[in-house]
Amino acid sequence: MKKITFILLFAVVAVVSAQAQTEKGRFMLNVHNFSPLSTIVTQEGRGLAPWTAFGIDFGTNKSEFGADEYKYNYVNFGLGASAHYFVANNLSIGGNLNFAHQRIEETEINGQEIEDGETFTTSQFILGPEVRYYYPLTSALKLYGRIFAGFGSLNLDEGTDPKIRQLEGGLGLAYFLHNNVSVNLGANYGTAYYNYENENTEVTNNGFGLDVGFSLFFGGVNEE
């Protein structure tokens, strides 16, 4: 009996609270996949992670080939995130950031430390506005549509840093585990344009991608 009462109370609280998830005046932070279109292969055949959500890793690499031994230090960093504000119920605008960075530095050859070892650095930065509209299906499930336009650059050691323009749109489902947390699953279609001005080269990637992530909601009149 006690448990049923709790469940009923919980259901009432959940329904009352769930309506406040995407109300005007709230803020939303999202961590999500990088970009389905970031299939770039950089110098030395290395590619940046196509679906980075949030990651940092660093360490050393000892590479042996025959009698030769090489040592490298490496650092990788990736962040795909956006921050939004609900300007009206269910409608939010914000900024979306995709950033990836990789650095590999040669430090030793055959046990001898080297001062000016080869260094490979690659980074990609795309920033731009994003708009989302949420359509409630149930108190815990909402359908959303999103549009993102991004501008940025890809920085390579080769000195041929292309400018990037990206346009992306998609549909997704947000499942609210709690008033303040949703898990998101979506599909995007987009185009990413890389202009290597110095080399008279243009690269355009068009495609679909799965978008997985989660969102945190806070602020707004209901929490005052």
Partner: protein, 221 residues
């Protein structure tokens, strides 16, 4: 009205406290999506440090001095683990890292790069409060990385990975947690034979971000 809201909130907290205790009980299952191997296994020239779950496919058009060529690309990455709680707070499971990327230029040879790692993993959770736990984990994985250019011999590397880490799991509900952790890992890759044998040893740390879904068990039925 305010009093009613406070009562509901108190009831919610009590209900939450009763139910949250069952998150990591013996007999429950746990599925995790997480960052990729925190050190970067070089899948034959393709670094993919932090994939969680991703699928992407499309076309890439390259225009050089007015001359245009096109390539189809497909990417797939999946990093997950499935666990069973053998006793309260202690789980054993399997960890899987899979990554595949292909690029097929029009009129050219298809390039495929893939990585597969699988192995056992154990975790122990310490209760700090009903919505927050600290965990330690350890495991080892074994697999292969392959790089293939259509029409030429496939290049294969054997992979062995081992390591552990500590992390914090925040439970907004009893069946779901957001995880953030720090890992320390070693990875050995070996390819070629005889005078062409090549060995790479990676050792490093990394941030591990992901989420877990809990289900089953006596209280979850």
């Amino acid at each position: 009205m305010k009093k009613q809201q406070v009562s509901l909130f108190v009831a919610f907290l009590m209900f939450g406290a009763l139910e949250l205790g069952a998150q990591t009980e013996k007999g429950r299952f746990m599925l995790n999506l997480h960052s990729y191997a925190p050190i970067s296994p070089n899948a034959q020239g393709l670094l993919a440090p932090v994939n969680s779950l991703g699928i992407g496919f499309g076309t890439s058009t390259i225009k050089v001095d007015g001359f245009e060529s096109e390539a189809k690309f497909t990417n797939f990455g999946f990093n997950t683990s499935a666990h069973y709680f053998i006793v309260d707070n202690f789980s054993g499971g399997i960890n899987l890292n899979f990554f595949n990327q292909s690029l097929e230029p029009d009129g050219g040879n298809k390039l495929t790069s893939s990585l597969f790692l699988v192995g056992p993993e154990v975790r122990y959770y310490f209760d700090l409060n009903t919505a927050f736990k600290v965990y330690v984990k350890g495991g080892a994985s074994f697999g292969q990385a392959k790089f293939d250019v259509e029409g030429s011999e496939e290049d294969t590397s054997d992979l062995v990975q081992f390591g552990g880490g500590v992390g914090a799991a925040i439970f907004p509900t009893r069946n779901f947690s957001v995880n953030i952790g720090l890992n320390l890992n070693g990875l050995n890759t070996t390819s070629g034979e005889g005078s062409l044998e090549s060995t790479d040893n990676y050792f490093g740390g990394g941030l591990d971000v992901g989420f877990s879904v809990f289900f089953g068990g006596n209280r979850g039925e």
